[in-house]
C-alpha cells in the first residue's frame, strides 16, 4: 500500500492542531484525510469510513480520546489508532496500550515525527 491510498482520520478538538497535522500528513504524501472535532464524532466516522489510521487526541469535549479508543476497538480491532496528546501520563499510556493503541505521539507534533510514523506504518503494512 502507498501513502496516497491510506485513509487517515485526524481527531482533535483544536482546529489549529487539525490544520497543522493535516499539513504534516499532506507533506508526507497522504491525500485521503478526514477530520473529527471530538471523540464521539471520531467513533461515528470510524464506523462510517473505516479509516486505516486514526490520530486521536486525549483531552476533548463530549467524549475523550481513551473512551473513543475503547469504542473504536470494540467496533473494529483492525483500525490502527495513534494517540497524539501532550498528556502522556502513565495512566493514559497504560490504558492506551491495554486497548491496543498503535503508537503514542507526544505533542507538540512535528512534521518529522509524523513523517517517520507514516513511513513506519506503511513499511509494517508491506
Amino acid at each position: 500500500m502507498i501513502k496516497k491510498e491510506l485513509k487517515v482520520l485526524i481527531c482533535d478538538d483544536s482546529i489549529l492542531v487539525r490544520k497543522k497535522l493535516k499539513d504534516a500528513l499532506e507533506q508526507a504524501e497522504c491525500k485521503n484525510i478526514l477530520e473529527a472535532s471530538d471523540g464521539q464524532v471520531a467513533v461515528n466516522m470510524c464506523k462510517k469510513y473505516r479509516p486505516d489510521l486514526v490520530f486521536l487526541d486525549i483531552v476533548m469535549p463530549n467524549k475523550d480520546g481513551i473512551q473513543a479508543l475503547t469504542e473504536i476497538k470494540e467496533f473494529d480491532q483492525s483500525i490502527n489508532v495513534v494517540m497524539a496528546s501532550s498528556a502522556g501520563t502513565q495512566t493514559y499510556l497504560k490504558q492506551a496500550i491495554k486497548l491496543g493503541v498503535y503508537d503514542f505521539l507526544q505533542k507538540p507534533l512535528t512534521s518529522d515525527a509524523v513523517s517517520e510514523l507514516m513511513n513506519r506504518f506503511i513499511k509494517a503494512r508491506g
Binding site: S14, I15, L16, V59, S86, T89, P108
Partner: protein, 297 residues
C-alpha cells in the same frame, strides 16, 4: 534566563529604564564577559580591587588575571574558575550594563548584593539561579504557606517559564504575586486540572497580546481573535498543562485535565491561595492564573 530576572529587578528598582533594559538584553547576546565582572559575581574580588587591577592593566601589557594574581587579589584556582565561567551567558548582563554606561561597576555590585538580599538568597542559591535554576528563583518569590500547594506551584511555574521560552519568547520573565484583587479580563483561556489535587489554570490578556502569543505559538500571523487564534492560545495552555501532568505522573501524582474554555470580559474572583503571575514577553505583560479554587463570572 537570569538576565531577564535581574534586568527586571533593576527596572523595578528604577536603576535602569525600559529602553535600557531592552538594549541590554539585545546587546548581551553578543557581548563577552570580562574577568573583573566575573570576579565580583563570584565574590573573589571587591570593586576597589577590580578598579586597581584595571588601572595597572592600562599601564602594562598583561592580562587581567595575571595582574590580579600578582597583586594578591586572586589565586590560581580562582582564576581557573573565572576562566571557566567566562563563557557563561548569564553574566553578560553585568558586562553590558557597564559597557553601555547604564550602571557603574559600584552600582552593579550593590544591585547584585541587594538582589540577593531582597530575595533572601544564600550564595549557593544565587549561584543556582545565575546558572539557570528557575525553580530556586520561583521558590523564593512564592508566599503561599500551604507546603503541598507551594511545591506544586513551583513545579507548575518553573515549567511554564521554560515553556514560554521554548514556544513563545526566549526573553520571557515571570513574577508571581498573591491573587487578591478582582480583575476584569478581556480574554481569558482556562483549563481545570483534577485528580490527586485540583488546580485552575488560565491565561489572561488583552487582545493585542492575545494575538501576539497566538501568532508566536502557531508560527503564523493572526490579526483577529478568530477561532484559529483562540485555538492557538488554548493549545499552548493545553500543551503546557499536558507536560505538567506528565511531570506529575513521573512523581506518581496522577492528574487529569478538562478541555480548555475561552472567555471574553471575564471577572476573576480572588483566591487567597492562588497567584496571578505577571508574564513579561516582548516588553508586554499578560497574566497566568494559578489557583486551587478559581472562579470567574
Amino acid at each position: 534566563m537570569f538576565s531577564q530576572y535581574f534586568g527586571h529587578y533593576l527596572l523595578n528598582k528604577r536603576l535602569i529604564n525600559l529602553l535600557q533594559l531592552q538594549d541590554v538584553l539585545e546587546l548581551q547576546k553578543s557581548n563577552h564577559v570580562k574577568l573583573g565582572i566575573l570576579a565580583i559575581n563570584e565574590g573573589f574580588m571587591s570593586v576597589e580591587q577590580v578598579d586597581e587591577t584595571h588601572e595597572k592593566q592600562m599601564l602594562m601589557d598583561k592580562k587581567f588575571g595575571e595582574i590580579a594574581i600578582e597583586l594578591g587579589f586572586l589565586t590560581e584556582d580562582q582564576l581557573e574558575i573565572l576562566l571557566t565561567a567566562q563563557n557563561k551567558s548569564h553574566l553578560l548582563i553585568g558586562q553590558t550594563l557597564i559597557d553601555r554606561g547604564y550602571l557603574t561597576l559600584k552600582q552593579y555590585s550593590e544591585a547584585l548584593i541587594n538582589y540577593k538580599k531582597d530575595h533572601s538568597l544564600s550564595d549557593e542559591q544565587f549561584q543556582n539561579i545565575s546558572n539557570g535554576d528557575i525553580e530556586t528563583l520561583i521558590n523564593r518569590t512564592l508566599t503561599v504557606g500551604h507546603p503541598y500547594l507551594r511545591d506544586v506551584y513551583i513545579d507548575y511555574l518553573s515549567l511554564f517559564a521554560k515553556n514560554m521560552i521554548r514556544f513563545i519568547d526566549d526573553q520571557t520573565h515571570i513574577e508571581a504575586q498573591p491573587f487578591t484583587e478582582p480583575e476584569i479580563i478581556p480574554w481569558l483561556v482556562t483549563q481545570k486540572i483534577s485528580g490527586d489535587m485540583h488546580l485552575w489554570t488560565g491565561i489572561a490578556t488583552d487582545e493585542s497580546l492575545f494575538l501576539h502569543i497566538a501568532s508566536k505559538f502557531a508560527q503564523e500571523e493572526f490579526d483577529q481573535p478568530d477561532e484559529y487564534a483562540q485555538a492557538s492560545i488554548s493549545e499552548f495552555l493545553n500543551l503546557h498543562n499536558g507536560l505538567f501532568l506528565v511531570n506529575m505522573s513521573n512523581q506518581n501524582i496522577e492528574l487529569d485535565m478538562e478541555p480548555q474554555k475561552v472567555h471574553q470580559d471575564a471577572q476573576l474572583i480572588p483566591d487567597t491561595l492562588g497567584y496571578i503571575v505577571s508574564v513579561h514577553s516582548s516588553s508586554r505583560t499578560f497574566y497566568l492564573i494559578l489557583s486551587n479554587q478559581l472562579q470567574y463570572v
